[in-house]
């Protein structure tokens, strides 16, 4: 059964009613395997507050959607996802709605550790993360790619409850991304957004959303070529509502980045970039399910 996915809307931003008093440590273990022409979810185990949904689809890839109980991360939450995509398998992991991080003086953490085997594909494409007033959020994503493995990784960060005038009001945000291949680091970066370096809403100016898309490996050769040509030839205009860039990382990897004046514009752009996904997976993960 397909699950309804709820797009980011302002009315959703009410904190959970029952705020747990204890730290919640949610962990999930996922393993994907190829059986015949299809990929199956071999293991999908999750401990609260993390939950996993495995909707069927018409393609050859297996899809998993994560969600967290209570609709977001509250103070002290620590989520970990451990994931394997076996040889020749194709997996899409997304989230059921945005990841909302609430006020969290003790901090919230989220960690991904993934291994992608030869000839396999991982599409890690969650909805945006939004950190609310007083949120302290630390995220790390570690991906080990075997030779011939492919990766689509999307990361979107939005300003928070912009409609209510709450923009970039968190107290700390760190996100590290490491992509290793055969023991060598292809990407090893960390974003650190902290008001200690200046008032964040001023520093981010008119922009309400920042995003990154990473494409690595042979399954994405033609997508990379098309995107490098398209984004690489966009004119640079003053005060544009959308700023995009594309940087090649060696012969078979690409990083796309964007800043947008609205979360919707960023989501739209990132989906345009990933418009090859339905044909790659054999089904469209972005269509509204219900």
């Amino acid at each position: 059964m397909r699950q309804a996915r709820v797009p980011m809307i302002a009315s959703e931003h009410t904190p959970p009613l029952e705020v747990p008093r204890i730290r919640r440590a949610g962990s999930a273990r996922l393993a994907f395997e190829r059986v015949g022409n299809r990929t199956v979810v071999r293991t999908a185990l999750a401990h609260s507050p993390l939950r996993l949904l495995t909707p069927r689809n018409h393609g050859h890839a297996a899809w998993v959607y994560t969600s967290s109980l209570g609709g977001g991360l509250v103070d002290g939450d620590h989520l970990t996802v451990d994931l394997d995509v076996a040889e020749g398998a194709a997996a899409l992991v997304s989230s059921q709605g945005s990841t909302r991080v609430y006020r969290s003086p003790r901090g919230c953490r989220s960690e991904l550790s993934a291994r992608v085997a030869p000839g396999a594909l991982l599409a890690w494409v969650p909805d945006p993360t939004m950190c609310f007033t007083g949120a302290r959020y630390t995220q790390s994503q570690d991906i080990q790619l075997a030779p011939g493995a492919s990766l689509i990784l999307m990361e979107l960060l939005t300003a928070g409850r912009s409609a209510a005038g709450e923009r970039w009001a968190f107290t700390h945000y760190t996100s590290s991304l490491r992509v290793h291949r055969e023991g060598r680091a292809l990407i090893d970066e960390r974003w650190l957004l902290d008001p200690a370096h200046g008032v964040l809403p001023e520093r981010l100016g008119r922009f309400d959303a920042l995003g990154t898309v990473v494409l690595v490996g042979p399954a994405l050769d033609s997508a990379r070529e098309a995107l490098a040509a398209h984004v690489g030839s966009l004119p640079v205009k003053p005060r544009s509502g959308l700023v995009c860039s594309v940087s090649p990382l060696g012969p078979d990897a690409l990083v796309l980045r964007a800043a947008a004046t609205s979360a919707e514009a960023l989501v739209r752009t990132s989906r345009e970039w990933l418009s090859f996904l339905p044909s790659l997976l054999g089904d469209d993960p972005w269509v509204r399910r219900g």
């Binding site: 060598r184 370096h197 001023e202 520093r203 004119p235 700023v243």
Partner: protein, 220 residues
């Protein structure tokens, strides 16, 4: 005491390392309308200095403490600088800095340059800067101060050439940045490579569009 004279020599704008071909992302930020006048230039410079503190000083420090790890630190810098414009600028400036120093101080820097070649490094600037200043017997704190000061001056001199501020105004601004330089140094001087961070993803993004600008005065 000999090293104090060297620091002054390295800080001299006449020291031929080609740094003036780079704007540190300023030219792209200006053409995108994000930097227009003094206030926004001050904000840009503040972003740039914190970014240097978190994104370059840890590599500089690690290379200064252990110049033999240059190869690993160079690879770390390469994986950290995913923005191709910043990555290329780091390699261009690192190579120019090493070559110039090897010519001017062949005794101490020549062997380092040879070792860097043999390690097949990509010549990223921050780790090379630390390693070169170590073999030149410059104290770590002086090396850190020098990098921050050169970064600030580079951006402000680019601002003068782009025409956002005049020469005197840019130096007044440089002077006003002293407390900020102190804060960056205090916060970042002790950071290890595990703390490397990009504190200004928006400025990084703006700078990464450099190659697509309609006209360009600078290489980055």
């Amino acid at each position: 005491m000999g090293s104090a004279w060297r620091v002054l020599q390295l800080a001299d704008s006449g020291f031929p390392t080609g740094g003036f071909a780079h704007s540190g992302g300023l030219e792209a930020a200006v053409q995108q309308g994000e930097v227009r006048e003094r206030e926004s230039l001050e904000r840009f410079v503040r972003e740039l200095l914190w970014q240097t503190g978190h994104g370059a000083l840890p590599l500089l420090g690690a290379a200064w403490r252990e110049p033999s790890t240059l190869g690993a630190l160079d690879a770390r810098a390469d994986a950290f600088l995913t923005n191709h414009v910043a990555n290329r600028a780091s390699r261009t400036q690192g190579r120019a800095f090493l070559d110039t120093c090897a010519r001017i101080f062949p005794g101490p820097v020549g062997p380092l340059r040879q070792a860097a070649r043999e390690a097949r490094v990509r010549y990223h600037h921050a780790p090379l800067f630390g390693a070169v200043l170590r073999v030149l017997d410059v104290e770590l704190s002086d090396a850190q101060q020098l990098l921050l000061s050169l970064t600030l001056r580079g951006a402000l001199s680019a601002a003068v050439r782009i025409g956002i501020v005049g020469t005197h105004e840019s130096h007044q601004m440089q002077n006003r940045c002293a407390p900020l330089l102190d804060s960056v140094l205090e916060t970042c001087a002790g950071l290890g490579v595990e703390s490397l961070a990009q504190t200004s993803p928006l400025m990084d993004l703006l700078g990464s569009t450099h190659d697509r600008l309609y006209s360009r005065l600078f290489l980055s």
